[in-house]
């Protein structure tokens, strides 16, 4: 009994020393977001244009293909070797005696491409010389057709004495950018031919030596990583074909509803910046929306050949030739194609160089600024009709709170908006767990009303409508904060007529904006 009392006494004393948590409730308010969404930001890339400062036109251009010289001509890694072997023996060769080898030609393997002249923009040349003579020898390696600023490529090496069995060597690697290389050979009428020349001279301060036919004076030149930014010749008639894939990611957020757009022009523009004839063909175009509906662009222009003339001029005066293929409501199903709101687009094309062969006599020319481009262009007035067009986007959410520490109990998010777009919006918030299961749904207390329902602001020159939307964050939602891993914001858009309320196409006015000021009020408990 006595021990139980002591244990009880001890426990009571310990318990008496322990302080309970002190708690009290507080109410906090703070702004969160203050910003204005304007279309002006998109004017920079010429996506949106205006001609009358009142209405907006969409002028969307995207480049699907951009080919330069290096994409069609590749100089392979090439090694050339030149050997000078005396035809007979020479005794008592005096110091400082020179021997000059004849010019030799070497082929670049370019298949059906026949180049007469190139200019290198990058690349390396590795020169290696071999000396089998028992005295030092000066080697001069020359590439007669390769010049830079008018000076022929020439390198001289002083190589130590060697033997026939084990010749001594000298080696050097040099940059080969900026060289003009004539590939017409010694005759000036050939192609893909590189010339080389070797000169040797025995050491003027060396001994008298003997040279025989077994002495091979040799050099090797390795060309690697050669890139050219100018070429002249015949570029062959290779075919370039591919299917371009591009996505419009934000359209994946559309989960329901319809959109209505006005008559639209879609143009494929082919630019030829090379002095070579082109034949091309759009093989197909289709898009697939988030509901997996695919619409193909149907037109007689699809699958039909078109031809593009060579560019004119040269260097700075180069003028690309252009060919455009237009799709409109009369020659295609373009509106249906665009209203499908495709997120994934496929455009197939085929291009062939020199479709009629070498009719230029090897006068094809490509300059550093030469490009072959395929662009797509869409032009239409920015006029949209939305009928329950619903977008949903999901964000990661990670906000834990410990109820035994300072924590929130409930809250109210208020969005004060000034809308100058003729579009109304009904927002909903979904709070989901890690399995994307919706745990809580919070409806906005009202919609962000269309500017059509507002009044005219003389200063901005726009109709504007103010709205205040509240999102109540109830205690059960706040209690589940640590379980919530995703928040989805869903917005349903409509373009109602101000009088009838029926959704119809509305023209987005120039300067339209949506000003948003968001604040939050939180009731929290301080735990100390």
């Amino acid at each position: 009994m006595k021990y139980i009392f002591y244990i009880g006494l001890f426990s009571f004393l310990i318990a008496s020393c322990k302080k309970k948590d002190t708690t009290w409730n507080t109410d906090w308010a703070t702004p969160i977001i203050s910003d204005t969404l304007k279309l002006n930001n998109l004017f920079n890339d010429s996506t949106l244009t205006t001609t009358n400062q009142t209405t907006i036109d969409v002028d969307l251009t995207r480049t699907l293909l951009n080919i330069r010289l290096s994409d069609i001509i590749t100089i392979p890694v090439t090694t050339i070797t030149q050997i000078f072997s005396p035809l007979f023996s020479l005794n008592n060769v005096q110091p400082g005696t020179s021997f000059v080898n004849t010019v030799e030609e070497h082929n670049f393997d370019l298949q059906d491409v026949q180049l007469k002249k190139i200019r290198t923009s990058a690349g390396k040349i590795k020169v290696k010389v071999f000396n089998p003579l028992n005295t030092k020898v000066y080697y001069t390696v020359q590439l007669p057709g390769a010049t830079k600023n008018g000076v022929v490529f020439e390198q001289t090496y002083f190589v130590n004495a060697g033997t026939i069995v084990q010749p001594s060597t000298a080696e050097e690697e040099l940059e080969l950018s900026g060289y003009d290389i004539d590939l017409t050979g010694e005759s000036g009428l050939s192609f893909n031919k590189l010339q080389s020349k070797l000169s040797i001279k025995t050491d003027p301060d060396g001994p008298i030596v003997s040279i025989n036919s077994q002495n091979d004076f040799k050099f090797e030149v390795l060309f690697s990583g050669l890139k050219v930014d100018y070429a002249k010749g015949y570029f062959g008639n290779q075919v370039i074909s591919d299917t371009s894939l591009f996505t419009i990611p934000y359209l994946t957020n559309i989960i329901s509803g319809n959109i209505d757009i006005p008559a639209t022009n879609l143009t494929f523009l082919i630019e030829n910046g090379m002095k070579v004839s082109l034949k091309g063909r759009l093989t197909h175009a289709e898009n697939t929306n988030v509901e997996n509906n695919t619409v193909a662009l149907n037109s007689t222009e699809i699958g039909a050949d078109f031809y593009v003339s060579p560019a004119t001029g040269s260097w700075a005066s180069l003028q690309p030739s252009e060919q455009s293929i237009n799709f409109n409501s009369t020659n295609s199903n373009i509106e249906q194609y665009i209203e499908n709101l495709g997120t994934e687009h496929k455009v197939g094309y085929q291009l062939q160089l020199n479709p009629w062969g070498n009719i230029s006599g090897g006068a094809d020319e490509v300059f550093p600024n030469s490009r072959i481009k395929v662009k797509i262009n869409v032009e239409m007035p920015l006029q949209v009709g939305a009928e329950g067009l619903t977008l949903r986007d999901t964000f990661d959410f990670n906000l834990n709170q410990d109820p035994t520490k300072i924590h929130a109990n409930s809250g109210l998010i208020t969005v004060n908006a000034t809308n100058a777009f003729p579009v109304s919006c009904e927002p909903v918030l979904y709070f989901m767990d890690e399995n994307n299961f919706v745990m809580h749904t919070v409806l906005g207390s009202s919609q962000i009303a269309s500017s059509i329902l507002g009044s005219f602001n003389i200063q901005s020159g726009l109709f504007e409508k103010k709205s205040s939307v509240g999102f109540i964050l109830p205690a059960p939602l706040i209690a589940d904060l640590d379980k919530i891993k995703f928040v989805a914001i869903e917005a349903r858009f409509d373009t109602p007529n101000g009088t009838t309320g029926i959704n119809e196409q509305q023209s987005i006015p120039y300067g339209a904006f949506l000003a948003v000021k968001m604040n939050v009020k939180l009731n929290g408990t301080i735990v100390y």
């Binding site: 302080k19 309970k20 109410d27 703070t30 203050s34 000021k517 604040n519 009020k521 929290g524």
Partner: protein
């Protein structure tokens, strides 16, 4: 069993109200060879914090709206609050002749002290206990806020005059915790439509880090000077000048200081900031950098909140049963105003040596305004036990003091 039960209830009473005690300023010294004094105090007081709220802060529990409202009604522009928690033990040796002098003895003492000193505005109280929602459309001012908190240990050795009971001791201190805050200018403006929040701040806050009990070492002194003033008809009056913990500590480890002189206006984030993760929603976002608050480390000297008191003592040898006492007290702390006190002591003899003293007092100043106190002490042979409160009816504080002397 009966003794255990008494101790049980006594300890329960102590532990459920406070953790330590302070000495009653009554001197009932016994002329013996050895003397032990155990003393402690738990005293908190303020001008405006209702004790119903303070008790919740100290002992836990929910601070309801009603409790907060009680305190809010008491608040004025600038308010004071302070706590003084002390536990001390002292040994006095009257037998040894220190340095060969027959009238000199020595004293050894040790103790732990915790002291909080705060000056704050009414708006700071509202912000802390109600939040900022009540300031929508208004400015909350926390300018002039000062806060200092100390926790330190002491060991002292000193000289004792056997005849007058005066003593002076040199002490060494170990600082276990220190923090301070000073807001020279602090204003928070919340617009009516909650679309902007402006903060003007010029101030600093510092605190020691870690769990070590030896964050700083220092030195100081205590002095207990008894003055015997002769009166007419061979009567005397005893006065006491008491100084405790007049000293300093120097930090061994750097403490962290946040300081800033900035004006910051927050009108909300842009969509780009939210989407690009450059806002406070992003883990890499530094709120302090945004507010212009600098963080630094510094070692400094901390002056202790010394205690000074001059008072008339109650003479236990007097023939008068009813005696007056009075005095003035000061802590070296910004929120503590000089405290004057006066009271009456009535002695009830319990035999030749034993006696029971009861008394009441009134004081003004310190961390609060008027306070009424009550005490009693009983002397039984070699023991003297005193228990008191310096604030028995106040709304804004509580006080309990305990002193046990044993002489033989």
């Amino acid at each position: 069993m009966k003794k255990i039960t008494i101790i049980f209830f006594l300890l329960h009473g102590l532990l459920s109200n406070a953790q330590s005690w302070l000495p009653i300023q009554q001197d009932t010294l016994l002329e013996k060879k050895h003397e032990f004094i155990f003393s402690g105090t738990a005293d908190y007081a303020g001008t405006s914090l209702h004790k119903s709220l303070t008790q919740k802060l100290f002992y836990g529990g929910e601070i309801t709206e009603a409790i907060k409202d009680k305190s809010l009604k008491l608040h004025r522009g600038i308010n004071q609050f302070g706590t003084d928690l002390t536990a001390e033990i002292e040994y006095r040796n009257f037998q040894v002749n220190l340095f060969g002098k027959s009238t000199w003895g020595f004293t050894i003492k040790a103790g732990y002290y915790s002291f909080i000193n705060a000056l704050y505005s009414k708006d700071l109280f509202k912000l802390a206990f109600y939040g900022n929602e009540g300031f929508i459309g208004n400015t909350a001012s926390i300018s002039g806020t000062q806060f200092t908190a100390y926790g330190y240990h002491k060991i002292g050795f000193g000289w004792l005059d056997k005849k007058s009971k005066s003593s002076i001791s040199l002490n060494v201190y170990s600082l276990s915790n220190y923090s301070d805050a000073l807001v020279r200018t602090g204003e928070i403006y919340q617009s009516q439509t909650i679309d902007s929040l402006s903060i003007a701040f010029d101030g600093r806050a510092s605190f020691t880090n870690g769990t070590s009990s030896f964050k700083g070492f220092g030195a100081g002194l205590d002095a207990d000077i008894r003055l015997k003033v002769p009166q007419k008809k061979n009567k005397v009056i005893y006065y006491q000048f008491l100084a405790k913990n007049i000293g300093f500590t120097s930090l061994r480890e750097s403490m962290t200081r946040y300081s800033g002189d900035t004006v910051f206006t927050f009108t909300g984030l842009s969509f780009n900031q939210v989407l690009n993760g450059s806002s406070f929603l992003d883990s890499n976002f530094s709120v302090l950098d945004t507010l212009g608050i600098q963080k630094s480390q510094l070692k400094t000297t901390v002056f202790l909140p010394g205690f000074l008191q001059f008072s008339k003592l109650v003479d236990t040898q007097s023939n008068r049963k009813l005696q007056e006492f009075y005095g003035i007290r000061l802590f070296l702390a910004s929120a503590y105003t000089p405290l004057v006190f006066a009271g009456l002591d009535y002695r009830i003899p319990l035999g030749k040596i034993n006696a029971l003293n009861i008394g009441l007092n009134i004081s003004y100043g310190g961390f609060s305004k008027f306070r009424f106190g009550l005490y009693s002490s009983v002397r039984i042979k070699n023991l003297n036990l005193g228990i008191a409160s310096e604030n028995i009816i106040g709304k804004t504080g509580q006080s309990i003091l305990f002193r046990l002397q044993c002489a033989y």
